[in-house]
């Protein structure tokens, strides 16, 4: 009996101790990096300086950079992370009558039109836009402002290709040759954002009409035993041979920055990446990520300050090593691993966001029919 009571007491204690916010009348802040805590004795005025940013799981920022923003502006930032980019946007749309946040970050060019059509954002012509290249600005009304971009591309396992006596293919269509049978892993475009981006790259490259369309390409890929996974993690870690996993496929759809990440996250054990980018014409797709102010934001002034901050050099320079994508602002310096290993593809495929939104569902259905059924 004593043991039972001791255990119950311990459990209750554990429950009670673990909940700092349980007895407080106000909800605890969702994230409290040391410097962004509102000063003690916060007045109602301080309350209005609280900003909620809704974003996806992969978002990150340096503690220092965020602290500097808070110190300068007096705005304390809370982050609401709720799944992948698509899920987050859907949540923002579903809760548009009572917005969960002030700022939405992470809508990319494949979802841009859906976000704009849902009418959930307020225009803001940030002065910091002046420093950004025009080809990244896809919304003339400035409801969504570009923050960063990255390229989806095929990575190859250098050692595996060498062992098999293969040189990286020079053209996308080479992947349908017998030499590349059973060598490529891609992700399902309905469940994975790099998967969709790669499909869009092939659509942009091969086109809808002509002697050899994107559908022909995928039919041939299927015949050549392309491996399809639902998400990036399984593709990269369980099927790709160039990562730390035990996979058997030497080619995988990933990002141009993945080789740089392999060096960066090797604890100094690698000076060269084990993987390379397959820089073939039309073999990559540029994903641009945008930020916007949600309609009905409780604190629009602070939201504007935060958007400015995201576009200014300090945050922009922080982007590469936090999220492994390129800053939108060309003035922001790139870290060494990026300069050395994250190549920029010369001819990425190009598709207008409107066209993507119009035809995405149909393309995915057609792709599923060709590759999986």
């Amino acid at each position: 009996m004593r043991r039972l009571i001791t255990f119950l007491a311990m459990a209750v204690l554990l429950v009670a101790c673990g909940q700092p916010g349980a007895s407080r009348p106000t909800p605890p802040p969702m994230i409290t990096p040391a410097a962004s805590v509102v000063p003690a004795g916060a007045t109602p005025a301080a309350e209005t300086r609280r900003l909620v940013v809704m974003t996806h799981d992969s978002f990150s920022v340096s503690e220092e950079v965020l602290a500097a923003f808070t110190a300068r502006s007096g705005v304390s930032v809370e982050f609401l992370k709720a799944g992948d980019a698509g899920t987050v946007l859907n949540q923002a749309i579903l809760s548009k009558n009572a917005p969960l946040a002030d700022v939405l970050f992470g809508v990319d060019n494949t979802f841009l039109s859906r976000a704009l059509a849902a009418d959930i954002l307020t225009p803001y012509a940030s002065p910091a836009l002046a420093g950004l290249p025009d080809d990244l600005k896809l919304d003339p009304e400035n409801r969504l402002l570009p923050v960063d971009f990255g390229y989806v591309i095929i990575n190859y396992d250098k050692a595996a290709l060498e062992a098999a006596g293969l040189t990286p293919p020079a053209d996308l269509r080479d992947l349908t040759l017998p030499a590349w049978k059973g060598k490529l892993v891609v992700q399902h475009p309905a469940t994975s954002s790099p998967g969709l981006a790669f499909l869009l790259a092939t659509i942009g490259h091969f086109g809808d009409t002509g002697a050899y369309t994107w559908k022909d390409f995928w039919r041939d890929l299927r015949a050549n035993e392309v491996m399809v996974t639902q998400g990036w993690s399984e593709a990269y870690y369980t099927h790709f041979s160039g990562s730390s996993g035990e996979g058997a496929y030497p080619l995988v759809v990933s990002y141009t920055t993945s080789p740089a990440a392999e060096v960066f996250f090797s604890e100094g054990r690698r000076s060269e990446p084990p993987t390379g980018n397959l820089l073939v014409p039309g073999g990559s797709f540029r994903q641009i990520e945008f930020v916007g102010i949600l309609r009905g934001a409780r604190n629009e002034a602070a939201a504007r300050q935060f958007v400015d901050f995201m576009l200014q050099p300090e945050f922009q320079a922080d982007i590469p090593l936090q999220m492994f994508v390129y800053p939108a602002n060309p003035q922001a310096p790139l870290p060494d691993v990026f300069v050395r290993f994250a190549e920029l593809p010369s001819e990425p495929a190009n598709l207008a966001p409107d066209l993507i939104e119009q035809r995405r569902d149909q393309w995915i259905a057609e792709w599923t029919e060709i590759v999986l059924r």
């Binding site: 009996m1 043991r3 039972l4 459990a11 209750v12 554990l14 429950v15 673990g18 916010g21 909800p27 605890p28 969702m30 994230i31 992969s58 990150s60 920022v61 340096s62 503690e63 965020l66 609401l80 992370k81 709720a82 799944g83 698509g86 859907n90 949540q91 749309i93 579903l94 809760s95 009558n97 009572a98 969960l100 859906r114 309905a190 996974t229 639902q230 990036w232 993690s233 399984e234 990269y236 870690y237 369980t238 990562s243 730390s244 996993g245 035990e246 996979g247 058997a248 990002y255 990440a261 392999e262 996250f265 090797s266 604890e267 054990r269 690698r270 936090q322 492994f324 995915i364 999986l372």
Partner: protein, 574 residues
């Protein structure tokens, strides 16, 4: 106390036992579910009709049900010998093996895929070993998507059979079989005609839980099954997360609900009918060390099976977490574990592993207490014996049917699409005034409790139904007060089932991932959420840290089991 006031007290207790669980279910399950379904059909029912009319979705439903039935049958077949061995024999390492068998239940699927790949994949341990030993050019073992899914389902659910069936079996009086043998029955006859009918409620409970669990399988299907296999849950995710076709998703979620409800209802009606009152016996009385060679062989085979089927993949994972991957030959290193404590990129979202362990444990402990305090009264209420068939009034019959329906309703959260319910929570909580709950530390434990409740109820109900009133009556006759009867007679009888319920509530919470990812605060991730984050980035260190955290999750789970199992009620061992 007069018998009249005692009766009033009992009635009041019954009402509380009814109101508390129903309120909980209504508020935290039906309300958000209703919200999202209403929103999904806000533009009319065209999507519903279109979905119901599409042959494709009926094929998906057939596959979903088929693979769930196959998974359930296989898990029962593989698990029953183990349940028998754990029920009847004492042997060294029993508690540890039982804990090991429960660990897979909490492992995130991505990690299990890594573990199975490390063992059975084309470049895995077994294939490479066989290739070297036999001089083969190609890996001899290649699992198809469906085979991998079935294997993983057995891997995950073995513990359900072991604990639910084995736990009930352990308290069955072995003299019943012995009497059958004395009367001339063969072993097989005794098993088929005496033991199995007595076990039926527990067997059915395990089968029901496994079926519903695999019926809504998502991670296993998505990661191990490959893109050609799709369950309803996978389709719901695709329709919701990427295509925002909420009406299609809601229709599919409703189909899932109807199937779960129908099956649970059928089970409850059946279980109430086949239950036989029993004199449950303490475990010290029913178990003994194996003596005959045949018995030793059986125990040995079970130990081997658990070690190979469940232990080996887990061990492979732990091994990978302390081996440095290339370049160069693999060697022992704790680098991944050490890196967990360092904020290498200076990220504002850095969470030390100790904090994630504390989060996971806090949520699991809260869930366990919540699930027990709601599930125990509910189980008592639902397990009340129906009146004998002859003397039943129409009102009593209706009440019994009502209870069976209520029982089935409690199973629903287990068969509900996590994607749908998660969105329901978000929409319901975006109503002004309820927003505070969105960031409440109670939110995640409440969600986990919904999934844990079916386990608590299913673990308790067979025991509550089967216990015979005679032992309690005898105690009362000897002068024990009702409180003493409960504490000294009843509690020891139901304690093992309580422990099983607690273990599962704890496990469900430690391993839950989908809803947690959607609703957890970014500064308070659980272990599975952290593992998911690390596996979302390329690089050896991220991979290593994910495996290190998975190993920590395994250890935390196993320790939790061993601790929970040490709980013994007063008044004797059962």
């Amino acid at each position: 106390m007069s018998s009249r006031s005692e009766q009033l007290l009992i009635r009041a207790g019954r009402n509380v036992a009814l109101i508390l669980p129903v309120l909980f279910l209504g508020l935290f399950f039906f309300y958000p579910l209703f919200t999202i379904i209403r929103l999904s059909f806000a533009n009319g029912l065209a999507g519903l009709l279109e979905t119901l009319g599409a042959r494709y979705y009926w094929r998906v439903l057939a596959f979903t049900a088929g693979q769930a039935a196959l998974s359930t049958a296989l898990t029962l077949a593989v698990g029953l010998p183990g349940a028998y061995v754990f029920a009847r024999y004492e042997f060294p390492g029993k508690a540890l093996l039982r804990a090991v068998a429960g660990v897979p239940f909490v492992m995130p699927t991505v990690v299990v895929a890594v573990a199975l790949g490390a063992l059975l994949g084309p470049r895995g341990l077994i294939n490479q070993g066989l290739q070297t030993a036999l001089g083969l050019a190609a890996p001899p073992i290649g699992l198809s998507g469906l085979q991998a899914v079935l294997l993983a389902h057995i891997f995950y659910n073995y513990t359900v059979v072991l604990r639910l069936v084995g736990g009930f079996w352990a308290n069955l009086d072995p003299r019943l079989e012995e009497a059958a043998a004395v009367l001339g029955a063969s072993r097989l006859q005794a098993l088929l005609r005496v033991t199995l009918p007595l076990l039926a409620p527990a067997l059915g409970a395990a089968a029901l839980l496994i079926f519903i669990f695999t019926f809504t399988s998502f991670g296993v299907m998505v990661i191990l099954g490959g893109p050609r296999l799709a369950t309803l849950e996978v389709e719901i995710y695709r329709q919701t997360a990427q295509l925002l076709r909420l009406d299609v998703a809601a229709t599919l979620a409703l189909i899932q609900l109807v199937c779960t409800l129908g099956l649970s209802f059928a089970y409850t009606r059946l279980a109430a009918r086949v239950t036989t009152p029993l004199e449950l016996q303490p475990r010290s009385y029913t178990t003994r060390p194996p003596r005959a060679p045949r018995e030793r062989l059986l125990v040995g085979a079970t130990m081997l099976l658990i070690t190979l089927l469940l232990g080996a993949p887990l061990a492979a994972l732990a091994l990978r977490s302390v081996l440095a991957p290339g370049p160069g030959t693999p060697h022992f290193t704790l680098a991944a574990y050490l890196a967990l404590g360092q904020n290498l990129t200076g990220s504002a979202f850095f969470v030390p592993p100790t904090a994630a362990i504390a989060n996971s444990l806090r949520i699991a402990a809260t869930t366990t207490l919540l699930a027990l305090s709601i599930g125990v009264p509910a189980a008592y209420l639902l397990a009340r014996r129906p009146a004998p068939p002859g003397g039943r009034s129409g009102r009593e019959q209706r009440a019994t049917a009502g209870m069976a329906l209520l029982d089935a309703l409690f199973m629903l959260p287990l068969g509900t699409s996590a994607v749908t319910l998660g969105l329901g929570y978000l929409v319901a909580l975006s109503v002004p005034g309820l927003g505070g709950l969105r960031t409440s530390p109670w939110l995640i434990p409440v969600l986990h409790t919904l999934v844990a409740l079916p386990f608590v109820i299913r673990a308790l109900a067979p025991v509550l139904r089967a216990r015979s009133p005679r032992q309690r009556e005898a105690a009362a006759l000897l002068g024990a007060s009702p409180a003493q009867v409960w504490l000294r007679v009843e509690l020891p009888q139901i304690a093992p089932a309580l422990a099983i319920g607690a273990v599962f509530a704890f496990t469900v919470s430690l391993g839950e991932f989908g809803a947690t990812l959607l609703l957890a605060r970014p500064d308070a991730p659980t272990l599975p959420v952290m593992i998911f984050r690390f596996l979302g980035q390329p690089g050896a260190l991220n991979y290593g840290q994910a495996l290190a955290l998975a190993t920590i999750l395994m250890l935390v789970t196993a320790l939790g089991f061993l601790l929970l199992e040490r709980l013994r009620p007063p008044g004797g061992e059962f």
